[in-house]
Amino acid sequence: MTPRPTSADVTLDGRLDGPLDTPLDVSAIRADFPILARKVNNEPLVYLDSAASSQKPRHVIEAMRAYYEGHHANVHRGAHRLSVEATELYEQARRKVAAFIGAPTADSVVFTRNTTEAINLVAASWGRANLREGDEIVLSHAEHHANIVPWHFLAREKGVVLKPVGLTPDQRLDLQALEAALTPRTRLVTTFHMSNVLGAINDLPTIASLAHDAGALLHVDGAQGAPHLAVDVASLGCDFYTLSGHKMLGPTGIGALWARAELLDAMPPFLGGGEMITRVSMFDSSYAEIPKRFEAGTPSIAEAVGLGAAVDYLSGIGMDKIRAHDELLTAHALRRLDAIDGLTVYGPRGPDRGGIAAFTLAGVHAHDLATALDDMGIAIRAGHHCAQPLGKYLGAAATARASFYLYNDLDEVEALALALVDVRDHFAAHA
C-alpha cells in the first residue's frame, strides 16, 4: 500500500501547517467502503457523522452475506450441520470481540443490541440485585442519555441517588469533583470513555482507582471509545465496559457488554426466554451459565458475524494507527475551525481529545447549518446529540457536530471549514 499524497494540496490560505502525515493509506481504506463513492445532492459525499454511526467496509457486508448464503441456522440447537456452523461462527465472533477489548475470557462478553441495551442490562440485573435506597451512582454532566436514563429507573424504583460531576473549565471531566463526590454509599461510577459531544477522553485508570478506593465499581460507556481507541479492559481497570457494533464498522443491532467474570457470574438474568435457561417447569426455571444467561431468545447471529469481521478489519489496520490518524484530523480540524470568526468549538484541546468536534456558529442555528452543509454533500449531525443535560450545562441546547474516522481525510476537513465560512457569509449577507 502506498501512502496517500498529503501535502501542499490542502494548505489553503497557508493555514494548514503542522504534520500532514498519516500512518494510514486512506485512499485504499476508502475503496473498501462502497458507500463513500456515492454522491449526495450531486456533490461527493463527505461523511462526518461516524460518531452517530460509522460506514461499513465490504468485508463486513461480505461476511454477513456469506453467513446467510452458506451457514445460517439457529444457534446452540446443534441437531444439524448448519446449526453447528452457525453456532461456531457466532461464538467465534464473541472470541474476536473479547480479544479486541482485552477480555480475559470470551465468556465474559455478552452480546446485546447496542450500548444502550448493554447499560440497561447492567442497571436491570446488577443494579436491581445490588443497590438499595440511598446508594449512590456517580456520573458526569457529559453522559449520553443511554448512560443516564437507565439509572433514572433505579432511582425511581429503588431510591438510588444520582450524583452528577461537572467539568473543568477546559471541558474535561473534573477528577477532583469526582473524588469529592465519592462517599461510602457510592456503589457505581459510570462515565464515558470518549465523550460523544466534547471528544474528551477520560483518564480511566485514575477514575478506576478513585472508584475502587471508595468501594465502588466502574462502568465505562465505550460507544465512542471502542471504535477509536485501543481498549484493554484489564489495564483500564473498569468492571463493566459497553459498546455498539455499528459505531465501529459493524452492523446495527449488535453490541456487547463485558463484565468481570465473577461479577457477571453473580448477576441474575436480564430478559427471560429460550437460550438463557437450563431447565424450565411450568412454575419455575433455572438459568444458564454466563454469557448465555443474558442472551434470551435467538440472538443477532449475522450481526455478530459482521461485528467479528469489523474488529478483524480494525485490528488488521491497527488501532494505534487509527488513533494517530484521528489525532491528525482532529488537530487540523480544530486549527481550521478555531480560526473561523463566530465559530465556537467545544471540548478540550490536547492529546486526550478524540475525533469529534461539536460547535456553534453565531447567527446560524445548528439545524440550519446541517441543512446547508447537506446541500453541499457534507453530512454532520445537529441537535442535542442525546446529551441534553450537557447542552444545558454548556448553555448550548443545540450544536452541530462533525466526527471523523479512519476513512476521512484532510481534504474533507478542509471542505468542512470552507463550507462553514460560506454558510456564515451567506447568513450574514442576508441579515
Binding site: N41, V364, H365, A366, H367, D368, A370, T371, A372, D374, D375, M376, A382, G383, H384, Q388, G391, A397, A398, D422, V423, H426, F427, H430, A431
Partner: protein
Amino acid sequence: MGVLDDLYQSAILDHSRHPRNHGELDEHHVAQEGLNPSCGDELTLYLRVDGGRVAAASFVGEGCAISQAASSLMTEAITGLELAAAHELAQRFKAMIRGLGADESLGESRVLQGIAKLPARVKCATLPWVTLELALSRFTERAD
C-alpha cells in the same frame, strides 16, 4: 448554492431574526406548548380569542431559522381568522410541506414550500402549526 438561495432567503431569515408577534400575550385564552423532541426545538403559542376568531396570536420559542420563521409567519397568517379557518389553514400548510402544493391562502408562509424537499426539516416547519392544532382543540374542548 441551492438550499442557501432557495430556502435561506431574505424572507425566511428576516422572520427568524425579527420574528413578528414574539413574546407572551398579556391577555390570552390559550397558552400551548409544542416540542420537537428529536432536536429540542421548543415553542409556546398564545392565542386571544374573541367572537370565535383569533383576535391575537404570539409565540415564544427557541430553535432553528425554519421553526422561528414558520412561527412568525403563522401568527400573522392566523390573526383575524375564524377558529375553523385557522384549523383549515393548518391542514393546507401541512399539505404544502408534504409536497401537495401551496394554496394562495397561505400567503407569505409559502416561502417555506421548499421544505417539502427536505424531509429532515419537515418537523421544524410544522411545529407551530401542530402546536396551533393542539391549542385549538384544547380551546374547543373547554368551550364545549
